[in-house]
Amino acid sequence: MKKMFQSIAVPVIAVVIALVISALVILAIGKNPIEAYGSLIHGAFGNQQAIIDTLIKSTPLILTGLAVGFGFRAGVFNIGAEGQMGIGALAAATFASNFGGLPPAIAIPLTMLIGMVAGAGWAAIAGFLKAKTGAHEVVTTIMLNSITTYIASFMVTGPLATGYGSPKSPEISTSAQLPILMRVGAMELSSGIVIAILAAVFMYVFLNKTTSGYEIKAVGFNPYAAEYGGISVSKNVILAMAISGALAGLAGVTELMGVHHRFLGELAGGKGFDGISIALIGQNNPIGIIFAAILIGALRTGSNEMQFMGVSKYIVMITQAIVIFLVAADRIVRAIYARKKVEA
C-alpha cells in the first residue's frame, strides 16, 4: 500500500512542481498564469467538443506511452517511437488505399497488422543491433527517426503523391477506416480509443501473466542474473524492441485509420517523444499510462486556447521537460516530500 502510494505520489508531485515552475515562466513574460491555466483547462475540458478533442489527442499518446513504457520494463530506452509511428502509418497508407474490395472485417485488421509489423520491424533493427553488437538503442533509434522523416518525404512527394497543395498520400479505402464512436460538431471520436485501451490491457496481461512477459521483465531488471538463470538476453531484447515498435506502429495506424485517413508529410509530430514523458509519469504501468496520456493530451488540446492569450503552446514542452527531469531524479521529489512531512 505504501509502495503504491509512493509510485503515485512521485509523478503527481512532479507534475505539480512542473506546473508551478511553468507558471513562473508565464509570469516572467508578463502574462497572468492563473488566466493562462484557466484557458488551458477550458480548452481541454470546457465543453463536450473540447473533451472529445482531448480524447482524440490522447489516443495515439496512450499507445506511444505504452510503447516506451514497455521498453523501459524490458530495460531498453526506445526513443524511436516517433519513427516507428511514422513508418507504421506510412506502410499502412501505402497499401490501404487499395482495400476498397475488402469488407471492413478484413480490411481493418489487415491495415492495423501492416502498421504494427512495420513499426515492429523498424524497432527490431535497433533491438538486433543492441543484442548482437552492443550499439546503444538511443543512438540507433534516433538515427532511424531521421531516416523515417526523409523516407516519408520521399514517399509523399513521389510514389504516393496525390492531388495538389501540401504533399499527401491518397485517402485510404472507406472499408479500412475505423468506425466512429461519437460525433460532436466537427469532432469525430473514432474507435481508436478502444484499441488503445485494449493495448493497455494486453500489455498488463502479457507482462504479468505470461512466461514471455516474465522473461522480458527479468532481462530488464537484471540482464546478468537473467542470463545466468537461462534466459536469453539477446532474444528478449530484440523481442522487447519489436513489441514496443509494434505498439508505436499501432499509434501511427490508428491516427491514419481514425483521424487523418491519409498520410500527410509528417504524422508523428512529437507524439513519439511525448510517449517518454507519459511512460515516466505513468510509472510504466499500463493504467498509469492511460491517465498520463489523457493529462498530456489535455495539455496539448488546452494549449491551443492558451495560445490566443499570447502564451506560446511551447510552455507545455517546458512543463513536460520538468516532469521528466523530476521523475528521472525522483529522489528530489522524495526529499521535498520528506521535508514537508517533517514540517507537518
Partner: protein, 319 residues
C-alpha cells in the same frame, strides 16, 4: 562511365573538402563534449539540447548587442547552465542519466520555441542578425588547392581543432586528466585515494556544456547568422556516435567527426551533380546517408571500442 567520372570529380574539387570541414566542425565540438563528460563517468545525451540552446542564445545576444562574439560567450554560459542542471540531477540525485538528458533536450526545445515570439516577434526562425566572418590567413590563401580549402574559412574550424588538442592534452597529460579517467573507471578507488569524485564529474559535465554550446553557436552565428527551430538536427547524437567510434578519445572522436563530415559533404555534392539526374524527391533519400552510416559505423565498432567502466553509473559515497 560519365557518372563515375563525375563522382570522382567530387574528390578533386576543393569545395568538397571545405564543406567536409564545416560539416565536421560542430560534430568535433559535440563529440569532444561527450568525451569530457563520459571520461568522468556521466553519460550526457543532453548535448543535443545544449547545442540547440547555444544556437539560440548566441543569436539572441547578437541581436540585442550587435556583438557576435558576445553572443558566442553567452551561448557558452547557456551551455554551462544546462550542463549544470544535468550534472545536478545525475551526480547529486543519482537520476537516470539518459532520461535526464532527454528531459534537458526537451527543455531546450521548449524554451527556444517559447522565447521566439517574445524576443523576435515571430515563430519558426529569426531574421539574419549577424555572422562571424570567415578569416583569411595571408600566405595560406595563395597555396594552390589548400588555399581554396582553408584560405577563407570560419574561425570556428580552427577553434574546434584547438579545442581537440587542448582536450587531448588535458585528459592525457595533466594530473586533472588522470583524475578524470580514474573517476570514470573506478570511482570507489579514486575516492579512496582522496579524489573528490563529485567535483571531477561536475567538471567533466560542465566542459561538455562548453563544447556543445560552441557547436551550437557555430551553427547559427558561425554559419548562417540566424536561428531556425530545431536547427541542431540530431548533431548531438551523431557527435555521441563519433565519440563511441573514436573510442572515447578526443583525437579519435575528431577523426570520426571528420569521417562523418566527409560523408556529409559527399552526399551534399552528389546531389548537386548535373550528371546524376534524379527527380527532386529522390534527393531526400540521399539525405538519409549520414544517418544510415552512423548506424552502420556504431554497430560495426562498438564491440571493439570500450568506454569508461563506470560510464553512466551514479556514484554514491558510503560513509
Amino acid at each position: 562511365m560519365i557518372v563515375l567520372l563525375a563522382i570522382l570529380s567530387v574528390f578533386i574539387n576543393p569545395e568538397f573538402y571545405k564543406i567536409a570541414l564545416t560539416v565536421a566542425t560542430p560534430l568535433m565540438f559535440a563529440s569532444l563534449g561527450g568525451v569530457f563528460s563520459e571520461t568522468t563517468g556521466v553519460v550526457n545525451i543532453a548535448l543535443e539540447g545544449i547545442i540547440l540552446m547555444g544556437s539560440f542564445t548566441s543569436v539572441v545576444f547578437t541581436y540585442l548587442t550587435g556583438n557576435v562574439w558576445f553572443g558566442v560567450l553567452m551561448a557558452v554560459v547557456s551551455g554551462i547552465i544546462l550542463a549544470l542542471l544535468h550534472a545536478w540531477g545525475s551526480i547529486k540525485w543519482s537520476g537516470n542519466q539518459i532520461v535526464l538528458g532527454t528531459a534537458i533536450t526537451l527543455l531546450a526545445q521548449g524554451l527556444t520555441g517559447f522565447l521566439m515570439e517574445p524576443i523576435f516577434g515571430q515563430p519558426g526562425q529569426t531574421d539574419f542578425v549577424g555572422k562571424i566572418d570567415e578569416i583569411t590567413i595571408p600566405g595560406l590563401v595563395e597555396i594552390p588547392f589548400i588555399g581554396q580549402v582553408l584560405g577563407e574559412i570560419s574561425p570556428f574550424v580552427y577553434i574546434a581543432f584547438g579545442c581537440v588538442a587542448f582536450g587531448w592534452w588535458l585528459i592525457y597529460k595533466t594530473k586533472l586528466g588522470l583524475r578524470m579517467r580514474a573517476v570514470g573507471e573506478n570511482p570507489e578507488a579514486a575516492d579512496t585515494l582522496g579524489i573528490n569524485v563529485y567535483a571531477i564529474r561536475y567538471f567533466g559535465v560542465i566542459m561538455s556544456g562548453v563544447f556543445a554550446s560552441l557547436a551550437g553557436a557555430y551553427l547559427s552565428v558561425g554559419e548562417i547568422g540566424q536561428f531556425k527551430e530545431l536547427m541542431s538536427g540530431g548533431r548531438g547524437f551523431i557527435g555521441l556516435a563519433a565519440m563511441i567510434v573514436g573510442n572515447w578519445n578526443p583525437v579519435g572522436a575528431m577523426l570520426a567527426s571528420l569521417f562523418f563530415g566527409f560523408f556529409g559533404a559527399f552526399s551534399n555534392q552528389l546531389q548537386s551533380l548535373q550528371e546524376i539526374q534524379v527527380a527532386a524527391n529522390v534527393k531526400s533519400l540521399f539525405d538519409t546517408i549520414p544517418f544510415i552510416l552512423t548506424i552502420v559505423v556504431v554497430a560495426g565498432v562498438v564491440g571493439r571500442s570500450r568506454g569508461p567502466a563506470a560510464d553512466g553509473v551514479p556514484y554514491e559515497k558510503h560513509d
